[in-house]
Structures are given as C-alpha cells and as structure tokens.
C-alpha cells in the first residue's frame, strides 16, 4: 500500500491577525506555524492504514516556501517514510494551480491512496483535494469522517446535513479527511531523531497560470460591544423585549 498525503503549513489561529503593508496578506511577524488541522488527521489516518496492513509507504507532499519543510519534518517524525517539497516563494490562492502542481508530482507515482485534509484551516476552500482527483481522473470522497481500506477497496462515511452516507470505492482513489477519522499522534523523541535522516526531496512546483488571486485582505468589522442585561431569571423579560423590539428576531 503506497499512500500520499498532501499537507499545508498554516499559521496557528489563536492570535489577532494584522494585515501586511501590501494589503493582500496577513502580517507574518510573530506568527507560529504548524500543519493544518485536518492534514494532521490525514497523516494519522495514512499511518494507521499502513500499520494495520503491516506494510506500505506513506509519502507527504507540500506546496510551499522553504519554511514548509518544518511541516514535512513534523510528518516524518510522526512516522511518514519520505517527503516531497514542491517549492514556491509564496503559496498562491489559486487552488487549481496548487492541484496542478500536486497532480504533476503524484501522477505515475503508483499511489493506491491520496489523502488530503478536508480543507486548509487558513484559506478554507476545501478544493485542492477534489480538483487534484479530477486532474488525475481518480474517484474521490470528500470530507470522510471514517475511512477503512481492505481487500483493495475503500469504505468511507460522510456527514451530510442531518444525515450521513456510507460509500464504497475502488483504489486508487483520493479521499479528503474530516476530523473524527483519527486524532494525530504526537511525534516521539525517537521519531524526531529518525525524521532528520529521512529523505526530503525538493523540486520546483509546476503551478502553471494563476487565475485566482487575493486583491485585498482586511479585518472584519468589530462587533458592537455587547451588553450584560442582568443576572439570572430576572433578566429574561428584558432579553425577550430586546429580541422582539431591537434585534427583531422573535
């Protein structure tokens, strides 16, 4: 079983972002970076599949600047076999261009399974996985909350609005992973040491034309300061009055 996992380095979200002087990106000063949340679930899912089968190889691939190698090293320290860095100066916002770079790398690689996080936590498009599947003409399950691989085929569960569906698909396939599949393990010290010696290949990313760009980035308007109406049950009539007369939602 040969599995590729496509991952992205993203800023940690528990900060107040500032806009960079160029007006089209966030100010990266002081930001901490990590693997995008859902990509961590995807790496863990891949490792568990090969561990369960008792054999196989997991390869992580990223499109990003030099600093993205930290994120690849983290995946290697979790137990991934090798890493591929598709190098760009800055990650474009164009998800087709990223998918093209990934598909160019993955095509002909002999992968049985290609995993993605269901979306990156920063740009939140959820598009690179399914577009890559289209470019490779592979079956695709997006946002799987459960995934099992056995006997050369896959089964997955997807959460819908107020329902869920179980799916079956042949390999090779592309699956994007929702949380719930597997909590990512923490790299062990042994894993971190081993990761330093694992292969990490660097190549230029074949993005092609970029046809979707960010023209401006801005902070959303602050919410007007809220009001504490009072304490306990005594405040309920005032709340209901405001919901009727001011917010007009009742």
């Amino acid at each position: 079983m040969k599995i590729a996992v496509c991952i992205k380095r993203v800023p940690e979200m528990d900060v107040r972002f500032k806009i960079a002087p160029n007006g089209t990106s966030v100010d990266e000063t002081g930001l901490k970076w990590d693997m995008s949340d859902f990509d961590g679930y995807a790496v863990e899912a891949a490792l568990q599949i090969t561990e369960k089968l008792g054999s196989g190889e997991v390869v992580v691939v990223t499109v990003g600047p030099d600093a993205a190698q930290e994120t690849l090293r983290k995946a290697l320290s979790m137990g991934v076999t090798r890493a591929v860095h598709l190098k760009v100066d800055a990650i474009p916002f164009d998800n087709f261009a990223i998918a093209r770079a990934l598909a160019t790398e993955l095509e002909g690689g002999g992968y049985d399974l290609i995993l993605f996080g269901k979306m990156s936590i920063d740009s939140s498009n959820g598009a690179v996985g399914p577009i890559t599947a289209e470019l490779l003409n592979l079956p695709c399950v997006a946002a799987a909350s459960k995934l099992e691989i056995a006997n050369g085929k896959g089964t997955a569960r997807r959460e819908l609005e107020g329902a869920a569906e179980l799916l079956e698909f042949p390999l090779p396939a592309v699956v994007s992973i929702d949380e719930g599949v597997a909590r990512p393990r923490y790299p062990s010290l042994k894993g971190i040491m081993a990761a330093k010696k694992k292969p990490l290949e660097v190549k230029p990313a074949q993005l092609g034309d970029v046809r979707m760009t960010v023209s401006t980035m801005a902070l959303p308007p602050d919410r007007p300061p809220g009001r504490i109406l009072g304490e306990g049950v005594a405040a309920v009539p005032e709340l209901v009055r405001l919901l009727q007369t001011e917010a007009k939602v009742l």
């Binding site: 949340d37 939140s124 470019l135 959303p220 504490i228 306990g232």
Partner: protein, 328 residues
C-alpha cells in the same frame, strides 16, 4: 464575453432545497449587471421536472432538468459531469453554486472538470469588468479576503444564507436535458444513507440556532436546549466541541473551527464559555445571546445580549417567555 450565468439548483429526495433559490437569486444579480440570462440546472429522480418552475420566480430564464433514478440521491461523479457539461456547452461567464454540504463537495469537482480554480464559500459576489470578485472569510473568519477570478468561466460557491432568495419573476423555459454519460456508472457507490432526524432543521438552514456547552453540566440537561429551540419553532440545535467529544451530541452538531460554520439571524449560546475555536464557527451570526454563570466568559465579549446566571434556571424561564411571546 459571455454574459449568461449558470446556477446549480440543489435538490434532495426529489425536491428543490432552499439554497437552490439562493443560487438563482445570486446568478440573477450577476446577469442583471451584464444584461445576460440565468440558466438553472437541476438533476433529480423522475417527477422533479414538474417542480422546477418555481426557479423562474427567482429569476431563472431557462431551467435545464435531467430526470434519472441515479440522481435520486446525491451522486457526485455524475452530477459534476453533468453540470460541467452544461457549463462547457453554454459558454457562461460564471457558474454559481451554494456551499452547502452537497455544494462543498460538488463545486470543486465541477471546477476541476472545467480546468479552473474555485472561489469557495463567498459571502459577497460581483462583476468587475471581465473579472468576478468575491469576499471570502479566511483564517477562521478573522480575516476577510477579497478574491479576484480571471478564469473563464468563474466557478464560485456562496456561503448558505449569504444571499437571501428574492423573487424576480421570469417565465422560465423548462428544458429536459440528457447527460452525455450514464449517471449510474459512478466509481464511488453510496451503500447506505443513514437518515438523521429529517424533521430536524439543519444548522445551515435554520434562522435560529440554540447551542449548548459544558455549562449544561450533564448530557441529560441538553433537553433544555432542545426545548428552547422548540419554543422558537424555527431553530436548530448546535453544540461545542467539548460536548461532541464527550458524546453528549453527535459530531455533526459541532459548531466551530473544525465543525460547522454558521451565520443564523439569532445564535443563543447556552453554557458556552466562548473558546476561540467555537467563536470561529459562529462569530458572523447576526444577533448573539449568551447565558453563562461566569461574567468573565469570553462569549460575553461578542454577545449582543448576555445574562449571567445558572443555565439550568435561566433557560427554562427563557423557554417559557419565548413560548408566551410566540403565542401573542
């Protein structure tokens, strides 16, 4: 430059969904800016063609509809192929979908088939000359990106509820369509659909969401949240990650950074402290009410109206008061 706009009108179980009218309304606004037409596309089981005339009420000039048993359930491969085929054939300026659970899955497939990027989960959309420009919350809603698409066609998905469906009547021509491929020949097979409570309003559709957190103290107290939601009548029930991780509520109810992102007219946070991951899923709600015993809880910083108190006492009183207000 093509001026017509293609709108994907979502259906489930043989009926159009509310988001279908949102897609057509958004497409109508774009088409009006260029003097173009709105062409809606619908796929469903036998009988759906008789139900699509209502899309004209919201501004569709043409409705292309395919009836096939393989479209009774969501069938991503065949549906993406069909929508992409219509998009290619019509030379459209833009293809508009709604980023519902189905639309989030479908839209990137359509974009991939058309060889273009997807601008997803937009909260606004407009034309700027040959370009399509939209706004998209990034970094868990803490930053708003204005995104410019130069690809043709521009494939976009709009956040559910970002556009309010508005009537703009046209006498829609309903045209039966036939997909090029066999809709039943999908590589990915749905083996089972596990129905949730279908009477339940979905979080993405509900104008009111009542959401509960650890402050409820025990799983059985969640019935207070359900009763308050029932009193509003048009409300869905959400939960924090702590609560879904503990198994008090299903994972699909989770609102937050890694769960659903919602923007209802009214969001009532019951016993929710307001962790940053939760705020990421609901901060764009129009009106926020918080009930929590800790006056320092971060949820009060973004709540329009707050009550400090024990949720086990305040919520039943609020339920009674909402019922009384609704009765008038």
């Amino acid at each position: 430059m093509a001026n017509n706009i293609l709108a994907f009108a979502e259906s489930r179980g043989g009926d159009l969904r509310k988001v279908a009218y949102e897609a057509v309304t958004a497409a109508r606004a774009l088409a009006d800016a260029t003097g173009g037409e709105v062409h809606a596309v619908v796929a469903g089981p036998s009988g759906i063609a008789a139900k699509v005339g209502t899309l004209g009420t919201y501004g569709a000039d043409v409705v292309a509809v395919v009836e096939h048993p393989a479209f009774a359930d969501y069938n991503p491969e065949a549906l993406a192929a069909f929508v992409a085929e219509r998009a290619r054939g019509g030379g459209y300026r833009a293809v508009v979908l709604i980023a519902s659970a189905q639309g989030k899955d479908l839209a990137p497939r359509v974009a991939g088939k058309l060889g273009v990027p997807l601008a997803s989960d937009l909260t606004t959309i407009r034309l700027d000359g040959d370009k399509v420009v939209g706004t998209h919350p990034v970094n868990t809603g803490k930053v708003i990106a204005t995104v410019t698409l130069t690809a043709a066609p521009a494939v976009v998905s709009l956040r559910p509820g970002a556009v309010t469906a508005a009537e703009k009547p046209r006498s829609a021509r309903v045209e039966p369509a036939t997909p090029a491929g066999d809709p039943a020949a999908s590589r990915v097979k749905v083996t089972q659909t596990i129905a949730g409570n279908t009477a339940k309003l979905d979080l993405g559709d509900a104008p009111v969401i009542v959401s509960g957190g650890r402050g409820l103290k025990a799983a059985e107290n969640f019935k207070l949240v359900e009763e308050l939601a029932a009193a509003f009548g048009n409300a869905a029930v959400g939960a924090t990650r702590a609560v879904t991780d503990d198994g008090w509520r299903p994972h699909s109810d989770q609102i937050g950074q890694t769960g659903r992102q919602v923007s209802p007219n009214l969001y009532v946070a019951v016993g929710i402290s307001g962790a940053i991951q939760h705020l990421a899923g609901m901060r764009t709600s129009k009106t926020i009410v918080a009930i929590n015993k800790d006056p320092e809880a971060p949820i009060f910083k973004i709540a329009d109206y707050g009550i400090v108190g024990d949720v086990l006492e305040v919520v039943p009183a609020l339920t009674a008061a909402v019922k009384a207000a609704k009765a008038h």
